[in-house]
Symmetry: C2
Subunit: 337 residues, 2 copies
């Protein structure tokens, strides 16, 4: 049988495990040009929270009793597509389930010789690409600039800071535990970092750590940390809006200070993006990321929940509350091969 | 004698005439490469409000007892610069005074045969150029797109809408009186407009007037009208931050809804600018604007206060409260020639 996680009720505020259900259905059969895949790792990501709301976002939301959307690292166990054979490792978007079918054009083959296959959902997958395109294409980062990244110990933020260091920039980050702060400074090479739960005056903290101001702010969190950035922007500063995780689980929308005046005085830019907008450049970016990884210029951590498909909701909720360092994954099964 | 308007006290909220003083000083003498000019028209503009605060902005603020900053249209009455002779009409930034000296490189000659010289402070001056570069360079307006401009009957907004119509776009505007709304639709050719003092639900109003959403929002006002734009942006929408006049005279800063999430779902961009950033392109833009004006494709109105230099504070305050249609000027003197 194939076990799936479906949506039982739309979360209000933080999701609860009771908002999800485990259902058993038959393992599907692939049709021509499809593959049947077995999930090895499930990826849980902040963007999924938005899909659980009734309001449509850039992609369709999840309806009640539907399988939760999401990416997986999986093994091909039956192939009706000429480009795939049994044992191939792929990245696919079949959602939270143990088995699924996908069209051959909708899955990406992963080379297991480069790095552990789990990285296909992390530093060599969507989060890594998000960091790459957000910082370099949207943020147009230049050498010697200053960078601030919020959510800096997460799957995206930890890569943003490292790419900025590769590009010769001064980088600071914010994160939510002292362990994360130590990790990004001591292991990843950030120039400085602060625990946003211990700092009360973000404005002064940013001014202290980057006294000449911020050229590029890579925003994963939104809210009060982001508010403090605008007065600290340099002329022609860029604010890259990648995520707003501080806002996703509010029961009532927040208000905040109006800051658009700063955009004029700083001739600054705010820009949002989706990694899918750069899909034509994904292969070349992945090649670059793999090279940096093999050269030891990029490091990564993963937080892996080992409890199988039933533990996906808990892992998702933990990630939304900042329980992870680096990429949060759920281990679903062992490789057959 | 030369009469000047100086700052007596920093305004709290809307400026009062008692925040200003009239002082008499000797008429200055030009040195080598300078000209002595006599002010014909004084320009009062929203940006000046920021200069009266103690907080430094992109330019130095006005200190107590200093002359209020601002542009003038003036006549050269003595020249020690080889490129200028008596009777030349120039645009200069000598502030609120009847006479001033300026370096030859700091003044721009105006051709009085193209249009009335007052336009040198309006549609063929800083406000016109602000509209031009904001819409076409910052906003990257494309044919057939949809445009919303706030403060649409002002010196900048009225030009923004007309350039957008020249470019084949659908344009709507907001303004603060029914007379202004009629003016921009009936005389300037906006497709639609609304009086923001009579409409309560800006979100629905924008949705009704531009049901397919907004490609470019040219923001002169900020505040609640701007809040309503973000959910109505189209994919790849652009928000050009030119001014935030609704915020300049608040005694206490406002808060507003957080909207950065929309930047991601819409892959949208917010960008602030100053017209001076495009100074190299000013001559070619002015030539284009003059051509459109002579072809009848651009129209303009002016609101001229005739009370001389003493009336500048009152005209400034009236403009900040929306008393003007088109460019607000103060007539200071008649031409000698």
């Amino acid at each position: 049988m194939n076990r799936q996680i479906t949506l039982t009720s739309r979360p209000i505020g933080y999701p609860k495990t009771s908002d999800f259900n485990v259902v058993e259905v038959p393992i599907p059969t692939p049709e021509d040009n499809q593959v049947l895949i077995k999930t090895i790792y499930l990826s849980v990501d902040p963007y999924m929270r938005g899909r659980l709301n009734a309001v449509k976002s850039y992609a369709a939301n999840v309806e009640i009793d539907e399988v939760i959307v999401g990416g997986v690292i999986a093994e091909v166990i039956e192939s009706k597509h000429p480009n795939f054979e049994i044992g191939d490792i792929v990245n696919a978007s079949i959602g939270w389930q143990e088995y699924g079918v996908a069209g051959g054009d909708d899955v990406r083959k992963i080379d297991p010789t480069i790095a552990p296959i789990s990285t296909g959902a992390g530093i060599l997958g969507m989060p890594g690409l998000t960091a790459y395109f957000g910082l370099l294409e949207v943020g147009q980062l230049q050498p010697l600039e200053t960078v601030f990244v919020s959510g800096a110990a997460g799957a995206v933020g930890s890569v943003v800071g490292q790419i900025a260091k590769i590009k010769g920039c001064r980088v600071i980050g914010s994160a939510g535990t002292d362990e994360k702060v130590d990790y990004i400074v001591d292991e990843l090479g950030f120039d400085a970092a602060f625990n946003y739960k211990h700092v009360t005056d973000y404005h002064t903290e940013l001014q202290t750590l980057l006294p000449d101001g911020i050229d590029v702010y890579f925003d994963n969190v939104g809210g009060e940390i982001t508010d403090a950035v605008f007065p600290n922007l340099r002329i022609n500063g860029r604010v890259v809006i990648c995520g707003q995780i501080s806002q996703y689980n509010l029961e009532k929308p927040e208000t905040g200070p109006r800051f658009l005046w700063h955009m004029i005085t700083k001739r600054a830019r705010i820009e949002g993006f989706l990694v899918f907008d750069f899909v034509d450049q994904h292969p070349s970016a992945l090649a670059q990321m793999a090279e940096w990884l093999q050269q030891g210029k990029l490091k990564y951590r993963e937080t892996i929940e080992e409890g199988g498909i039933e533990s996906a909701p808990a892992a998702f909720i933990s990630m939304l509350k900042g329980g992870n360092i680096g990429k949060q994954l759920v281990k679903i099964a062992e490789l057959d091969t």
